[in-house]
C-alpha cells in the first residue's frame, strides 16, 4: 500500500489533487482511496487530503499517519509544525516552489531521506504558463508520477481528461506532461551521479 | 390496491353511523305564522300567498288565490285604505310593500285577460235573497254562488255597485272597473235585479221562495243637522251631490263651494266640486286635522288639488251668497266648544257631508230584528234576531269601508251556508302573528317601494280621469318580490345551507325542508338565520 498526504491551502484544489491521483491509480488498474481532511475549510486555510494506492481492496478507514509521500502545494506551509510528521524513512517529498531545497530551508527535515526522494517543482509557474491561473494541483501530479512512479503519466493524463474540459483540460495535460518531463530529467541528471534507478514500484 | 392499513386509514363517509342527534337538548321545528298583512285585511285575504304567486310571475294563479276571498280586487286595489300596508313588516325595514298596487294590477289583468272566476259547486237547491248590490251584497252573492246556492240580488238603484258607484267619485274608481268586476260575478249566474227596492223582506223571501236573506242596503241617508238658512240659500247633501255627478246633468253649484264635514265623503265632495268648475272649494270642519276622520291620503290629495280647509269652525248660518262661521276651540276632552267669535265666508253653495245613516224602514216589519243606534244588531255570525236573515256592510255596527263590507259578505256567506246545512261553526285556528322581531332582515336585499304614477294636479282639476295609475308587469313583479314572506317558509335554502351537521333535507320545489334529527345537534343556527322566522326551537322531552 502506497499512502500519500497532500498539503495546501483552501482553493488550491488539494482535495481535487487527491481525487485525481486516486482516479489515475484506478486507471492503472489499482485500488485507490482518496479522502479529504474532513471539515469546513475556507479559502486560504491549511488543507490536507489523502490518497491510498494498493494492489488489493482497501478496507481501512483510518487516517494516514505514516505517509509514503508528501505533496506540498504551498511552500508557505513548510515550517508548519508537524508537516513532515509520520513520513516514512523511504518516503518522498515534492514541494511546489521555484527556489532550491536549500533556499526554502527544509534540508534539515529531509536530510535522512534517500537522495532523489525530495524534489521541488515550479508548478504554479507552469500552471500560470499553460492555464493562465495559479492552480498547481494537477501539475504537481505530473511531477509526483515521475518522482514516485506510483502512477503512470498516461493514467494521470486520462484522469485529467475525464475531470476537466476545454482550455483547462488542454492546459493541464500539457502542464502535467511538462512537469513530468522536467522532473524525470532532473532525476536522470541526479542519477548519472548516483547510479540509481528511479520509479521503483511501491511496496 | 391491497388491504388498507388498520385503523390509520378509513373508508370515506363512515361517520354517518354516529348519530350526533343524541347531543341535542332543544330541537328546531318548522312553523307557519300569520303574516301581519293577512291579519289586518278586513276581507280576510291571503295576501302573502297571492304575492308569493305573483312574485313568480304567475299572475293568474295569484289572482285566483286572491279571489278565493275577494271577488273585487280591481276595485279594492283602488279604494281600500289598505290596513295591510300599515301592518306590513317591510315598513319597519324601508317602506311597506305596495300591496294595493299589486292587487289592483292583478284585478286589472284579470279584466284585460278575461280570466273567469272559479265555477260554482254543484247546486245545493237552496235560494238566498241578497238585498243591496253594494260591495257587501256582491261579495256574499259571489261566495254563496261558489258554494252552490242560488242567489238573487235586489238593488233599489238603477245600477249595481251601491256606494262604489254612487259614493265614490269616478276619478278614484272608474265605472268600467265596477262594471267589469260586477259582470264577472254576474257571469257566475248571480241574478242582479236593479231598480227594485225591497220594502217587505219577509214577503219577498216568502214570495221568492228564499231559504235565507242577506241584508246589505248600506247607509245612504245623509245625516241632517239644523242650520238656520235663508230660503234662497243653496244647500245640498253630499251623497245626492256625488250621485248627481253620475247623472247626465250634473247639479249647479256655482263658483264658491263650501263643504261642511270632515270625513272621506267631504273630501270626495270638495274634490268633485273642483272638477265641476268651482274656483273655490272650502271645507269647514269643527275640529283640527289630527281629529279629522278622513283618510290622510284623501286629505293630502284634496289639498294638493287646491281644496282649502277652515279648521275649528262651524257654520252658524247660511245666507244667499255667504255663510257665517263660528270659531271653535277644543276642550280638554277634545270636544269643540263655541267661542262666540264669528266671521263670514262667501259661498254660492253649501254641501253637507256630516255622515250617513242607514234607511232601516224595511226592517220595521221584522219585529224580531233589533235596531240600536241606527244600526242592525247581529250576532257573531252576522245573523239578525230573525233566523235565516243576516246583515252586513254599512248597516251593521262596524267601520264603514268597502273592504269591511266585502269581508262581511265573505263571513256571512260561510255562516249562511252552515246555517242552511244546519252545521255548527267550525272556527279555523289562527296562527301566531309573524311579528317583526321574528325576522332576520339581513337576508332581504334593499328595495325601495315603487311609486305609482299620479295624474298631475292640473289635469285632476279639469276632469274625472283616474288620478292614480297602475303598475306594469315588471314593477308589479318587483313590488311583489319586496314581500318578506313573514312567518312562512319561502324556500330560501338558508336552513339547508347553514346547518353544520347537514341535518336538513331539501325536499324539492314547493316541498320545503325536513330536519334529520339523527344528526341535528340543536345548535339553533337555522333558527337564527331563517329570514322569515319560520323555525322555532322547542325543548327535547327527555
Amino acid at each position: 500500500m502506497f499512502q500519500v498526504r497532500i498539503h495546501g491551502r483552501g482553493g488550491q484544489g488539494v482535495v481535487t489533487a487527491a481525487e485525481l491521483l486516486a482516479v489515475a491509480a484506478f486507471n492503472d488498474g489499482r485500488h485507490a482511496q482518496a479522502f479529504p481532511s474532513f471539515g469546513s475549510e475556507r479559502t486560504g486555510a491549511p488543507v490536507v487530503s489523502f490518497c491510498r494506492i494498493s494492489e488489493r481492496e482497501i478496507r481501512t478507514r483510518s487516517p494516514i499517519d505514516e505517509p509514503d509521500a508528501l505533496v506540498i502545494q504551498d511552500a508557505t506551509l513548510l515550517h508548519q509544525v508537524g508537516l513532515f510528521s509520520g513520513l516514512r524513512p523511504q518516503g518522498y517529498v515534492l514541494v511546489n516552489t521555484k527556489k532550491s531545497l536549500a533556499e526554502i530551508g527544509v534540508a534539515g527535515f529531509v536530510a535522512e531521506l534517500p537522495k532523489g526522494h525530495v524534489l521541488t517543482l515550479r508548478a504554479t509557474e507552469i500552471a500560470l504558463q499553460h492555464l493562465g491561473r495559479p492552480l498547481p494541483n494537477a501539475v504537481l501530479l505530473g511531477g509526483f508520477a515521475a518522482l514516485t512512479g506510483a502512477v503512470s503519466l498516461a493514467a494521470v493524463v486520462t484522469a485529467i481528461e475525464d475531470r476537466f474540459s476545454g482550455p483547462m483540460r488542454e492546459g493541464n495535460v500539457t502542464a502535467v506532461t511538462e512537469a513530468f518531463n522536467q522532473t524525470r530529467a532532473e532525476l536522470e541528471g541526479a542519477a548519472t551521479l548516483e547510479r540509481r534507478s528511479v520509479g521503483a514500484a511501491p511496496d | 390496491m391491497s388491504e388498507l392499513p388498520f385503523a390509520v386509514t378509513l373508508d370515506a363517509g363512515s361517520s354517518r353511523a354516529n348519530h350526533t342527534g343524541t347531543w341535542r337538548v332543544e330541537r328546531p321545528v318548522y312553523v307557519d305564522r300569520l303574516p301581519p298583512c293577512n291579519d289586518a285585511c278586513p276581507a280576510g285575504e291571503n295576501i302573502q300567498h297571492w304575492l308569493y304567486d305573483a312574485e313568480a310571475g304567475s299572475y293568474e294563479a295569484a289572482w285566483r288565490t286572491l279571489v278565493e276571498d275577494n271577488p273585487l280586487p280591481a276595485i279594492c286595489g283602488r279604494v281600500c285604505f289598505h290596513p295591510c300596508e300599515a301592518a306590513c313588516n317591510r315598513g319597519k325595514l324601508d317602506e311597506a310593500v305596495g300591496i294595493h298596487a299589486v292587487e289592483r294590477f292583478l284585478g286589472d289583468a284579470a279584466i284585460a285577460q278575461g280570466w273567469r272566476l272559479p265555477a260554482p259547486a254543484a247546486p245545493s237547491g237552496r235560494r238566498v235573497l241578497v238585498v243591496g248590490a253594494g260591495p257587501s251584497g256582491l261579495s256574499v252573492a259571489y261566495h254563496l254562488t261558489r258554494l252552490g246556492h242560488e242567489v238573487e240580488i235586489r238593488e233599489a238603484a238603477p245600477r249595481p255597485g251601491g256606494m262604489l258607484r254612487y259614493g265614490i267619485p269616478k276619478y278614484r274608481l272608474p265605472r268600467e272597473v265596477i262594471d267589469a268586476e260586477v259582470a264577472k260575478i254576474g257571469n257566475l249566474g248571480v241574478v242582479i235585479r236593479c231598480g227594485l227596492a225591497v220594502t217587505d223582506i219577509a214577503g219577498s223571501m216568502e214570495e221568492g221562495g228564499f231559504d235565507a236573506a242577506y241584508l246589505a242596503f248600506g247607509a245612504q241617508l245623509s245625516h241632517r243637522v239644523q242650520i238656520p238658512a235663508a230660503d234662497s240659500a243653496r244647500v245640498l247633501d253630499a251623497l245626492a251631490f256625488l250621485a248627481g255627478t253620475e247623472a247626465a246633468e250634473p247639479p249647479a253649484i256655482g263658483r264658491r263651494v263650501v263643504v261642511y264635514g270632515g270625513g272621506d265623503t267631504a273630501m270626495d265632495a270638495a274634490r268633485s266640486a273642483k272638477r265641476l268648475g268651482a274656483t273655490e272649494a272650502v271645507i269647514v270642519y269643527r275640529r283640527n286635522r289630527e281629529r279629522m276622520p278622513a283618510h290622510p291620503v284623501e286629505v293630502e290629495e284634496a289639498l294638493a288639488e287646491g281644496v282649502t280647509v277652515r279648521w275649528l269652525s262651524t257654520i252658524a248660518r247660511v245666507n244667499r251668497d255667504r255663510i257665517v262661521i263660528e270659531k271653535m276651540e277644543l276642550d280638554t276632552a277634545g270636544f269643540p266648544q263655541p267661542t262666540g267669535e264669528f266671521t263670514e265666508l262667501g259661498a254660492d253653495c253649501v254641501i253637507l257631508a256630516l255622515g250617513q245613516d242607514a234607511d232601516l224602514a224595511p226592517l220595521a216589519a221584522l219585529e224580531d230584528v233589533e235596531v240600536r243606534d241606527g244600526a242592525v244588531v247581529v250576532d257573531a255570525h252576522l245573523m239578525t234576531g230573525r233566523p235565516g236573515v243576516f246583515a252586513g256592510g254599512d248597516m251593521v255596527p262596524a267601520d264603514r269601508t268597502v273592504t269591511v263590507a266585502i269581508g262581511h259578505g265573505k263571513r256571512a256567506a260561510r255562516n249562511i251556508d252552515r246555517w242552511l246545512a244546519g252545521a255548527p261553526e267550525a272556527a279555523a285556528p289562527r296562527h301566531n302573528l309573524a311579528a317583526f322581531d321574528k325576522l332576520n332582515t339581513w337576508y332581504y336585499a334593499d328595495a325601495p317601494r315603487t311609486v305609482q304614477p299620479e295624474l298631475e294636479a292640473v289635469r285632476r282639476q279639469t276632469g274625472f280621469e283616474e288620478v292614480v295609475g297602475g303598475l306594469d308587469g315588471s314593477n308589479a313583479l318587483y313590488e311583489a318580490r319586496r314581500c318578506l314572506s313573514c312567518g312562512n317558509c319561502f324556500e330560501c335554502d338558508n336552513c339547508y345551507g347553514v346547518c353544520p351537521d347537514n341535518a336538513v333535507s331539501k325536499l324539492g320545489p314547493g316541498e320545503r325542508y325536513a330536519f334529520d334529527y339523527d344528526y341535528c345537534k340543536g345548535c339553533g343556527i337555522c333558527v337564527a338565520e331563517c329570514p322569515c322566522g319560520a323555525i322555532v326551537m322547542v325543548p327535547e322531552l327527555i
Binding site: - | L10, S15, T20, Y443, R481, F490, Y496
Partner: protein
C-alpha cells in the same frame, strides 16, 4: 324587463339560494345533491363555524374541479372531530400528517400528481390559524415561495381551540384565552402588531390571496371557484367563529361572522400577485361593540368599569381596515 333579469328581493345576494334564483346563480350549498365533503356524524361542537367553513370551501372546490380533489389536513379541531377511529366524516380523498406540515405534504401530493400526469386533480391544504400562522408557517411560506400548485385554506377561529382555547398568533387583541386570562392590568391578549396572514401571503406575491366569511356564502364560493381556476400557490383565509372558544351562543356563529365583517374588523378582499383587486364593501356598518359584546372572551371590556380605552383601540383597528381596504365603497387608501 324579463323575469330572469329581476333580482329576487326576498334573498338578494346574502342568503344561500332561492326557488326563483337561476340555477347558475345559486350556491353549491343550495344544491339538493351537493357533495357534502364533510358529512354528518362528525364530532364538532354545536354551531361549529369550522365545520361549516370546511364544507363550504370543499364543496365549492369539488364543484369547481369536477370532484377531482385531494385534501391535506393539519392537526387540529377539524382533524380530530372529523376522523376519530373507526369513523371518518370526509367524503373526499383526505389525509392528515402533522400539525405544522400541511402545506409541505400538499406540495408533495401536487408534485406526485404532476409526475403522474394527473394535472386535472387539484390539491387543497387546510389548517386552523395555529397550523397556518404559527407552527405551520415555515412550510406555508416555503410552499408560497416555490409557487407550488396548492390552495391553502386557513380556517381562522383565532386560538388553539383543540387544546382548550390557548392564544395563537391570530388571537385578537384583548381577547381572553386560557393563556391570556382576563385578569391583571392588561386583561386578555396584549395589543401587539398582530400576525396578518393574508397580508403575509400577499407579500409572497402569489397568484391569489383572498379572505372570506361563513356569513357570506356567495362571496366565499366565488372566491373558491376563482382560486381553483388558477394554478400555483393560492391562499384563502376564512373566519370561522368558535362558540366554545369565543364564549358565544351556538346559534350566533353566522351572526358573529357577519358582524366581524360589518364592523371592519375582518375585511373581505381579493388580491393577485400582491395587489388588492377587490374588496367586499360593508353593507350595514356597525360599531365594534355590537361584535364584541355577545362574546364572553371580551366580557371584561364591558364589566364595571367598562374598558372604553380598549374598545376604542379595537374600534381604531376596524377604522384603519375600513380606510385601508375602502370597505365603505371608497377607493382603497393610497400607498398602502
Amino acid at each position: 324587463m324579463t323575469e330572469q333579469t329581476i333580482k329576487f328581493y326576498q334573498v338578494g345576494s346574502f342568503a344561500v339560494g332561492n326557488r326563483l334564483v337561476d340555477p347558475h346563480l345559486r350556491t353549491v350549498q343550495s344544491d339538493r345533491v351537493r357533495p357534502n365533503a364533510l358529512t354528518s356524524g362528525h364530532r364538532a361542537c354545536q354551531g361549529c363555524g369550522e365545520a361549516l367553513g370546511a364544507r363550504y370551501v370543499l364543496d365549492a372546490a369539488l364543484a369547481a374541479t369536477d370532484r377531482k380533489l385531494v385534501v391535506v389536513n393539519a392537526t387540529g379541531c377539524l382533524e380530530v372531530f372529523s376522523t376519530p377511529y373507526p369513523e371518518t366524516s370526509w367524503q373526499v380523498a383526505w389525509m392528515h400528517s402533522l400539525f405544522g406540515n400541511a402545506a409541505a405534504v400538499a406540495t408533495g401530493v401536487a408534485a406526485a400528481l404532476k409526475v403522474r400526469g394527473e394535472t386535472a386533480t387539484r390539491v387543497i391544504a387546510q389548517a386552523g390559524d395555529g397550523g397556518a400562522a404559527d407552527i405551520g408557517f415555515g412550510c406555508l411560506s416555503g410552499m408560497f415561495e416555490r409557487n407550488d400548485d396548492v390552495l391553502f385554506v386557513c380556517y381562522d377561529n383565532q386560538a388553539y381551540m383543540n387544546t382548550g382555547v390557548q392564544r395563537s398568533g391570530a388571537t385578537p387583541a384583548a381577547a381572553r384565552t386560557a393563556t391570556t386570562e382576563a385578569i391583571g392590568r392588561e386583561p386578555g391578549n396584549a395589543f401587539g402588531q398582530g400576525k396578518n396572514l393574508p397580508l403575509l401571503a400577499m407579500a409572497h406575491e402569489i397568484p391569489y390571496v383572498a379572505t372570506a366569511s361563513v356569513a357570506d356564502l356567495h362571496d366565499l364560493e366565488a372566491k373558491v371557484e376563482r382560486a381553483m381556476g388558477l394554478r400555483g400557490a393560492r391562499y384563502l383565509h376564512v373566519l370561522v367563529p368558535c362558540p366554545l372558544g369565543w364564549g358565544s351562543a351556538s346559534r350566533d356563529t353566522i351572526r358573529l361572522a357577519r358582524l366581524a365583517c360589518e364592523t371592519g374588523l375582518f375585511p373581505l378582499f381579493e388580491a393577485a400577485h400582491g395587489e388588492i383587486l377587490a374588496t367586499t364593501p360593508i353593507r350595514r356598518p356597525v360599531r365594534v361593540e355590537a361584535y364584541l359584546r355577545p362574546q364572553r372572551r371580551f366580557a371584561h371590556l364591558f364589566a364595571e368599569p367598562p374598558r372604553t380605552d380598549d374598545i376604542a383601540r379595537i374600534q381604531a383597528i376596524a377604522d384603519r381596515n375600513i380606510r385601508r381596504f375602502g370597505l365603505l365603497g371608497l377607493p382603497p387608501e393610497e400607498g398602502r
